[in-house]
Structures are given as C-alpha cells and as structure tokens.
C-alpha cells in the first residue's frame, strides 16, 4: 500500500531516515544513560516492531473507528446544546450546577478528544470533509493552522529535545535541570498557575511565536495576519460565551455568564493538567540537541517512548483526556485514531519492559503532583558543589540589582546635560 509513503510524509512522522546509523545519536540527558544497554540493532528492532503495530492498526482501520468518532461528535453536540439550554434558567442554582458541569464536560470533549485528535489528521482517512484536519474548527483561541504548525511540526518532531522542543516549559518555565537557569525562572510556579487558568490564551500566544517576531525570525506580515486571525477568534468566542448566551438567558444573564466563564476555566485547568502530565512527571527523559541528526526510525520511536508519560485510570478518564492519557502511544503514532491507543497500550508497555525501558505511568493526582514538583524544583538553579542554590540565587539577584542600578544611573547621567541645558 502507499500508506507508508503517505504517512511518513506527514510532518509528525519521519522524513528520509537512513536504515542504520554508523553510531547512535540518540542521547538522553540523564545519567546513567537509560538506553546504554541497547545495541543499535535492538533499537532498530524496536522500530520494526512498532512499525508492525502501526501497520496492523492501519489494515484494520474502518467502520468501527468511523462510528466511534461520529458517536463522540454527536454526544458532544447534544451535551453542549442541552447544557446551554439548561443554563437559560441558570439563576436557579441546580440549573447552574448541572449546566455548568455539562458545558465544562462538552468543552473538554470538544477540545481534546475531538479537536486535538482531528487536527492531528487522525480521521482524515475517512474522507469526510466535516471531520478533517484541514477543515476542523475548535472552541479554542488558537486558530487550528497556527496550532498545527507549532504542535504537530514542532513539538511532535522535536519531542523533549532541550533547546528544540519549545513545549518544554513554553520558553518561560524551567522544567528540566539541563535548561540553563536564569533569575526569571523563579516565577515559574506563579506563571504556570496563570498559564493553567488561561491555558487557551497561553497556547494561542505560544503558537503565535511572539519571540520569533521580536527577534526578527518571523515574517512580520505573516505574524500580523496570524495575530489578526487569533484576535478575531478570541472576539467571536468571547461574544458567544460572554454576550450572546447571557443575553439569551434574560434574567439569568449574569449566572449564565459566570457559568460560561467557569466552564472555560474548568476546561483550561483540566487541559493544562493533562498536558503537563504528558512530558513533565519524573521518570520522563529529555534529550540532547544533536539527537535529531541522522536519527533513525528506531531512535525516533525510542525518543518518543522515553519522552512521554501516561496517566492510568478508567475508560471515562481516558475519554476526557482525549486519550492523551496514552501520551506514549500518541507520540509513537500521532495520526492513528485515538480510540486505538488503549488497545495498543499493553503491547507498547510489554515491548518497553522487554527492552528494559521504563514505561512511565501513574494516576492523575500523582502525575500532576510530580509535574508541579518539577516546576517548583527547577524554578531554582541546580545545586552544583560549592555553588549552592542559595548562593546562585543571591548572585543572580545581586547581578540583576546591579544591572538595574546601572540603568538608573545611566538614565540619570543622560538626563543631566539636558537639565543643564535647560537651566543655562
């Protein structure tokens, strides 16, 4: 089948990778090296086994999967409609509670199981123009095309490579000891709390690549077009949630507005937690930048497996995480239908254990706590022999203050002549 050539051409998969390397490039930042015990041949064998799993799913992909996604779409639409209808009477508190819970759940489904996965192209094979990565719209600030660029082409390609995968802390938060520390990282935990509450806007700003615009790497015109597309969406979504539906609710306007804001907040907090569990809990590996040079298919797979972590739980939990609770399987096969990840999981786990690799997984509270622990820990510099954390922090603070002092003096100095000129 031509499926292989089409799938390898996707940005999320591997472009032009040679069969076997001269030497291994995949380099974990951890010591001891978690893959030291694997030979080059082992790694390529892992690649072949995973390719076989993938082919198996592709050859059985069909009506059952199509029926699954259509059922989820229908469920989400009906849940959203009925929740919004109930909220028309939101000044009665039971209606508020039921409607808000339903709307939150519907926004989560829409965002994760439907939006994220459809925009990955997981359902493109159905050839249904309504369920396709090029036409799907989601209830998020970030325009699908912008998100696809940063998420599919950036994060899924460079997964957990220090300096290349911007998802490692989104350029603001330090999440790994191998990221160089700077003083602003002490605000990481606070920033992350804001990020969690406003996650859809955080994602949108991140997809916009503001830094690329500032340092001139991004075309200014393209940036402005992206920004305007983003603002249009923000305006429309806000109009719907904060103007239109409240107005329709008449005397229940304010409770409906509060309900919609709550649902957006719940969705943001939930999505943020799930996504942080994907790459930040302890046990998940990061990699050195040259890992990607001439990376083989086997090495790519191993990096995806070691660079991701799962969440264990019930089928309902998996559904509500958009099956991102199977982050390892998702990173191995980003474009396979999400309903298949749970079927692949035991086989992937068995394979990893057989090759002595750690399959990182745990219940949601444990993984969330572990991710937050990292964010707190790495907001401070690494302890390094003589250079204790406290000493480094003090030095950095002193540097910063000196810098500010210099600037103040400079300004004052610059102003003096003009003052002099005035008085003269």
């Amino acid at each position: 089948m031509s499926q292989r050539s089409t799938t390898t051409a996707r940005p999320v998969a591997l472009p032009n990778i040679p069969a076997l390397p001269e030497e291994r490039h995949l380099a974990s930042t951890s010591r001891p090296d978690p893959i030291a015990h694997l030979s080059t041949e082992d790694i390529e064998q892992i690649g072949r086994e995973l390719d076989a799993m993938r082919d198996e799913v592709l050859s059985t992909r069909g009506a059952r999967d199509a029926a699954y996604v259509r059922r989820i779409i229908r469920t989400q639409r009906i849940l959203e409609m009925s929740s919004r209808t109930v909220l028309l009477a939101s000044r009665y508190w039971p209606a508020w509670v039921v409607g808000t819970a339903g709307l939150s759940a519907s926004k989560i489904l829409e965002n994760m199981e439907l939006g994220h996965n459809t925009l990955h192209g997981q359902w493109d094979w159905m050839r249904d123009p309504k369920i396709h990565s090029t036409t799907w719209q989601w209830d998020m600030a970030s325009p699908p095309a912008q998100w696809q660029r940063s998420h599919n082409a950036g994060h899924h390609k460079y997964t957990n490579i220090i300096g290349l995968d911007e998802d490692l802390g989104y350029g603001l938060i330090r999440v790994d000891p191998n990221q160089p520390w700077k003083l602003s990282h002490v605000f990481g935990p606070v920033l992350n709390m804001f990020n969690a509450a406003l996650f859809q806007y955080g994602i949108a700003a991140y997809d916009l690549d503001i830094e690329g615009y500032q340092n001139g790497k991004r075309d200014k015109k393209a940036f402005r077009a992206d920004l305007s597309a983003l603002l249009t969406r923000v305006r429309k979504n806000a109009t719907r949630d904060y103007v239109l539906y409240p107005l329709l609710s008449g005397p229940s306007a304010l409770p409906t507005l509060a309900a919609n804001a709550t649902a957006n907040l719940v969705r943001n907090l939930w999505a943020h937690s799930v996504i942080f569990c994907g790459h930040f809990p302890s046990g998940i590996q990061t990699f050195e930048a040259d890992s990607i040079d001439d990376e083989t298919r086997g090495e790519w797979y191993v990096r995806q497996m070691l660079g991701s972590g799962n969440i264990s739980g019930s089928p309902l939990l998996h559904l509500m995480t958009g099956n991102l609770s199977f982050q390892i399987e998702h990173h191995l096969f980003p474009d396979l239908p999400s309903n298949r990840y749970s079927e692949l999981a035991p086989r992937v786990q068995e394979l990893m254990e057989r090759y002595g690799l750690t399959y990182v997984t745990g219940p949601l509270p444990k993984q969330v706590a572990s991710a937050w622990a990292k964010i707190f820990r790495y907001s401070l510099p690494n302890a390094d022999g003589e250079e204790t954390r406290v000493k480094q922090l003090r030095d950095a603070l002193a540097d910063q203050l000196r810098g500010i002092g210099d600037k103040v003096r400079e300004r004052a100095g610059a102003r003096t002549p003009s003052l002099g000129a005035l008085t003269a």
């Binding site: 031509s2 050539s5 089409t6 051409a9 996707r10 940005p11 992909r61 069909g62 009506a63 059952r64 999967d65 199509a66 029926a67 229908r74 639409r77 009906i78 959203e80 409609m81 829409e110 939006g115 192209g121 493109d124 094979w125 159905m126 050839r127 249904d128 123009p129 396709h132 990565s133 090029t134 036409t135 799907w136 719209q137 989601w138 209830d139 998020m140 082409a153 969406r233 429309k236 979504n237 109009t239 719907r240 239109l244």
Partner: protein
C-alpha cells in the same frame, strides 16, 4: 460563531432539511437479476430534480471511508413520492457496488450531488430514436423509457448472457406492449456487435436520433461510425470514464495545505492519488467534464491524460487544473 455553526447542531436532528448539505436516506435495497442492486433514496429537501437520462453521484461510507460514484437515475419522475432510484451493477472486487449489495442498511444516510449530465431527451421527443447500450449502459436508457412515450424506439442492447441482462423482464414487457422494438445481443454466444454493423440490425439507423451508452470501446466506435456517415449531430453518448490517451511521467506531488508529499504514477489521475492519501480532493464527474475538481497547480507540470497536453505552473502564476484527468509529469505542487 466558532467553532460550530447552527448547521452542525441541526444536522443531528434533521439531516434532510432544506439548506443542509445534500444527503439521502436509503429506503430500500433490492437485488436484481443479472448481478445488480436497485436502491431507492429519499433525497434531502435541497434536491432540485432531474431529467431522465441524467446521473447522480452518491457518497457512500464503505468501511468508514467515503467513496463517491456516479449512477444513472432510473425512477419515474412522475411518481408522486419524490424518491430516487439507481441500479448498481455489482463488479467483481468493486468496493462500492459490493457494499451497496451487502452492506448498505435501509435507513442509513448517503451523501448526494444534484443530478448532472446532458444524456437526455430534447424538449419534444424525436419521432424515431435508436438506443445502443451494453451492460450497465442500459441504466440511463431505462430511465428514459420509463418516463417518455416514444412513438418509434429501437433498443439494441448487448449483455454477456440472458441471465446477466438487466431489466430483462421490463424490456420484454415494453416490447410486448409494442412500445419498444428490442434487439438483444448476447455477446458470449454472438460476440460484440461492431458499431459499423448497426445497419445489419437497424436498417433505418441513419434516420434515427441515437443515444449510445456502454464501454469506452463501443462509444469510440460509435462516434467514428456516425462521424464517417456525416451524422455526428444525431449521436449522443454517455461516458462514465475519461478516454485515456496519454500517460504522464509520474512523480512526487506535494499537497501544500495538507502538508503531504506522495509518489504518484504517471497513468493515475491526481484525484485518485490524492484521495487515497486522505487529501480532501474536490471531485465531480471524474471524467473531465464538470470542472468540480479543478485545483490550483502551484509548481511543476501535469499531463492531461486525454490529450497528453502538458500544463506547467510557477508559484507566481498558478494554473487551475482538472485533477480527475491530470497526472503528475515530474514533481509538482497542488494547493490543497
């Protein structure tokens, strides 16, 4: 409003409402003699009607994948219930034709396009007509026979055997009523009737306005024969496949919006290659007539499979090409 428009919700409750994307509900699935299946459909309220002889395209989900095919409409237009019917010949290995026979559930929905095609009768039916059909080429003609009263109609129909012949009883009944002069030719015994021998079975063929539908070879021969007799204006043909006269060189096709590169063969339309790779390709008649499939070629060259003509585009000068009759001629990019 983003992300959903009211239609996304309304479609759940009333997929056949006016203004919705055109769909149809399957009302019945009936096996026919001769390895064919007749299905009747209730079209959505956006359906604009048809003229006998025209075809529709239906989009059927076969094992989860939407496949579009064109079939001639055969129902009586006068029937008050407004349902459509098509007869699908079951092809060996045919994805859609076998699914229609075995997997299409009564009550399920299919996607639909408005009727198309100019293989129809003029406003007033001619005094003398000739139909030449072979195999499932009978379907547009049965649509005409069911809806028009022809004062003098001859049908020359070829089928492999009597058992394989579609609408056998109905045609025999028309013959018995004197509404049709039927000439059957069973090709497994008698071989194919060459178009230039039509005069052997219909001596006055030159006085008849003719409608010919069947395999490509029959159509090509008929066109040549009528042309050489100077009667080309009396001939109407219906093609369901383009005439492939040339092949491209093949090559890597980049679908720029989908962000996908595929290797394509030189004799395969870009439309088929793109669809197989999951690209959302606009499509229509699939034979180079309707122009529904035109898409921007932004770089490289494609070859028209019918004429061999080469079309080349530059990023600053994109060209709209018909993907259903064009194959890659070297690396090229389509903005889809």
């Amino acid at each position: 409003m983003t992300p959903l428009v009211p239609a996304d919700y309304l479609d759940i409750f009333d997929p056949l409402r006016a203004g919705a994307d055109l769909r149809a509900r399957v009302l019945s699935v009936t096996p026919e003699t001769g390895g064919a299946t007749t299905i009747t459909l209730r079209p959505g309220r956006s359906w604009r009607g048809h003229r006998p002889g025209q075809y529709i395209r239906i989009g059927v989900d076969v094992d989860g994948v939407r496949r579009w095919r064109a079939y001639s409409l055969t129902q009586r237009t006068a029937s008050a219930d407004g349902t459509l019917s098509i007869t699908v010949r079951t092809l060996p290995g045919g994805l859609v034709s076998n699914h229609v026979r075995e997997g299409l559930a009564v009550g399920s929905m299919v996607m639909l396009d408005q009727a198309a095609g100019d293989f129809v009768q003029p406003a007033t039916v001619p005094d003398k007509v000739l139909f030449v059909t072979a195999g499932s080429g009978i379907t547009p003609v049965i649509g005409m026979l069911r809806n028009h009263d022809f004062p003098d109609a001859v049908l020359v129909h070829s089928a492999p055997t009597a058992a394989d012949m579609l609408f056998h009883d109905e045609l025999a009944a028309l013959q018995a009523e004197g509404r049709l002069h039927l000439v059957t030719r069973f090709t497994s015994e008698e071989g194919i009737l060459p178009a230039e021998r039509i005069g052997d079975v219909v001596p006055d063929w030159q006085q008849r306005e003719a409608w010919v539908c069947g395999p490509v070879g029959l159509l090509d021969d008929a066109e040549a024969h009528w042309e050489s007799a100077g009667l080309a204006e009396l001939l109407h043909t219906e093609r369901f496949r383009p005439v492939v006269a040339a092949t491209g060189e093949g090559g890597l096709v980049t679908f720029t919006r989908t962000d996908l590169v595929i290797d394509t063969a030189g004799d395969r339309p870009l439309l088929d290659s793109g669809e197989d790779a999951g690209v959302l390709m606009p499509s229509g008649c699939r034979m180079g007539i309707c122009f529904n499939c035109v898409s921007p070629l932004t770089s490289g060259s494609v070859r028209d499979l019918r004429t061999g003509e080469l079309t080349t585009a530059e990023p600053e000068d994109p060209v709209m090409v018909q993907t259903c009759v064009s194959a890659a001629a070297g690396p090229c990019s389509i903005d889809l």
